[in-house]
Symmetry: C2
Subunit: 331 residues, 2 copies
């Protein structure tokens, strides 16, 4: 069914994450021709990260057997709001503030580059190629170190006036509640993220003297526990971990309810490391919490709540989709 | 500048509220040619309310000196979600459940009728003709007995999959918090509405024995105090009223922050009886609370927070706009 273009139109999609850079080269049907990964090592500074991005693209191009000039464009997802001029405004995980992401990469690569917030393009990827395929509207929620999100409405990302919107994790659901990394209190992310859960672990273990298997599994730092370790502790029925995860997934359900109450999207897709590890286990609990908090109750059943299906590729694929959309708009 | 159509195209806009029905007849520039009002008297039942709607339209048409057949369409705003088939799904204030609003009025009037949730068309009215004029995106918040809202994005109402979305008042901002009329806990409306404030008044006065001028001004019922009485008590610096209104406006600011964090609209417009009475007084407090809770902080300044400008006419005018848009879509 798909129309094949006479001229082959290749794209690269890059996911710059806190721990790794992940690059894909795709064809005009978004079939993956090659992939390459490197550690981000953000402590080396912005310029070093950019060079490592270039290395992954070079490597992937080599695997695909193409020169960089065969790429029509490169799309980048990064953990920052991205301004219209391609500047990454603020990426605390990376230590970036107002860095010229697009300009730097275009200078190094000599290929058109577009960039967008990672959760926005991750949602766009799921919308076009994953669990959102065929929907008119989709909200993506990605639970990992933080809680990121994206909103796609009638096929378009909602980014707000300053391209900083869809910050789903910083919706306040508990006025005066748990302190969030952003400085506010009661953000959804303060309950539904590894950082948020980590605050509770630290409080309960260190300040309240509560015992937990976490003191053995990850003795020194509760601030960003690996999902695999959380899973191990959960499977061993550690009471603190069970209680904290249940609380987190209940809050996630309430956050989802708010999004249905406000926007009534056709689908909500849940991804990120925590949900890749726990999604199947907790989906019934999440749905129940969402159903109990949605208004009006009758509207709940019109939104499908699904697990993301692109896994680790969502951001890189979505970045490639965004690159193609940007090219199409320029024509 | 405005193009005048050769054929005069008149519309009626009707606002069916809990206490009054308000009808306007407007020309193709939305100039008001006539208006008529009647008490709703919803206790008489759905059919009686429909007949009173017809009476206001007849009366307004008589004032305008036109026959009903001169109306191209009638737009109705009602305090209920309205299904695609014109059924008003659920209007607790009116005692309506699944009533055939559009069908009944078309049968009685023999003119095309469209209907939509009152806060949605109120927002549409402000978007086209009021404080939202010229914006791309607008969220309206109307504080009265309840807290209603509407979202207009790229000129279109966001109504969600089941046309029940934009229920801004039922976004949960305080998990486990104050009970809301909808049955949930911690909805924004439970803090930011006359019903919500009434619960606090009743609790403080009746259960806590706290003294307040309200016991003299409105001795028997705190559940839906007139805005003018609230204003009087506030101007007399009644501590309970001052404290409760400050709390309500702070919560309103936090709700606004959530909407900016999620959607980053160009403008947010505040209307309804409470804000008509207190808007000018509290706008700085509302803005401050919103600014303190928006994420990222830099995105706050890109959304303008304004008072609504159409007052009591917002819903009827918005309903007329909606009627014209519906006609245009049919062509």
């Amino acid at each position: 069914m798909a129309a094949t273009t006479t001229k082959h139109s290749l794209l690269a999609g890059v996911d710059i994450g806190g721990t790794k850079i992940h690059t894909l080269i795709v064809d005009d049907q978004y079939r993956i021709l090659a992939s390459a990964r490197k550690k981000t090592k953000s402590e080396g500074g912005f310029r070093a990260v950019m060079e490592r991005v270039v290395e992954t693209i070079d490597e992937a191009a080599k695997i695909a057997g193409i020169p960089l000039t065969a790429l029509a464009a490169i799309g980048v997802g990064a953990p920052s709001p991205i301004r219209e001029d391609g500047v990454a405004v603020h990426a605390p995980n990376m230590g970036w503030k107002e860095v010229p992401l697009v300009k730097t990469l275009e200078h190094l690569l000599r290929v058109p580059v577009v960039a967008e917030n990672d959760c926005n393009v991750g949602t766009l990827g799921e919308f076009h190629l994953g669990a959102g395929k065929g929907a008119r509207s989709l909200i993506g929620l990605f639970v990992g170190t933080g809680l990121g999100g994206g909103i796609v409405w009638n096929g378009e990302m909602i980014r707000g006036e300053n391209r900083m919107a869809a910050e789903v994790g910083h919706m306040i659901v508990q006025v005066g509640g748990r302190r969030c990394g952003c400085g506010h209190q009661g953000c959804l992310e303060a309950y539904v993220s590894k950082t948020g859960m980590g605050r509770k672990f630290a409080y309960e273990i260190i300040h309240q003297g509560r015992s937990s298997i976490l003191t053995k599994l990850t003795p020194n730092d509760y601030s960003n526990i690996k999902s695999s370790i959380l899973l191990e502790a959960y499977q061993k029925k550690d009471p603190l971990v069970v209680e904290t995860l249940h609380e987190a997934m209940t809050y996630l359900g309430i956050g989802i309810a708010n999004l249905i109450t406000l926007l009534g999207p056709e689908r909500i897709v849940l991804g990120g490391g925590v949900l890749e590890a726990f999604g199947k286990t907790f989906l019934p609990l999440i749905r129940k919490a969402a159903e109990e908090a949605t208004h009006p109750p009758a509207s709940f059943s019109d939104t499908k709540i699904l697990l993301a299906s692109l896994g680790d590729d969502a951001v890189a694929l979505g970045a490639a989709v965004y690159a193609r959309e940007s090219l199409a708009q320029k024509k």
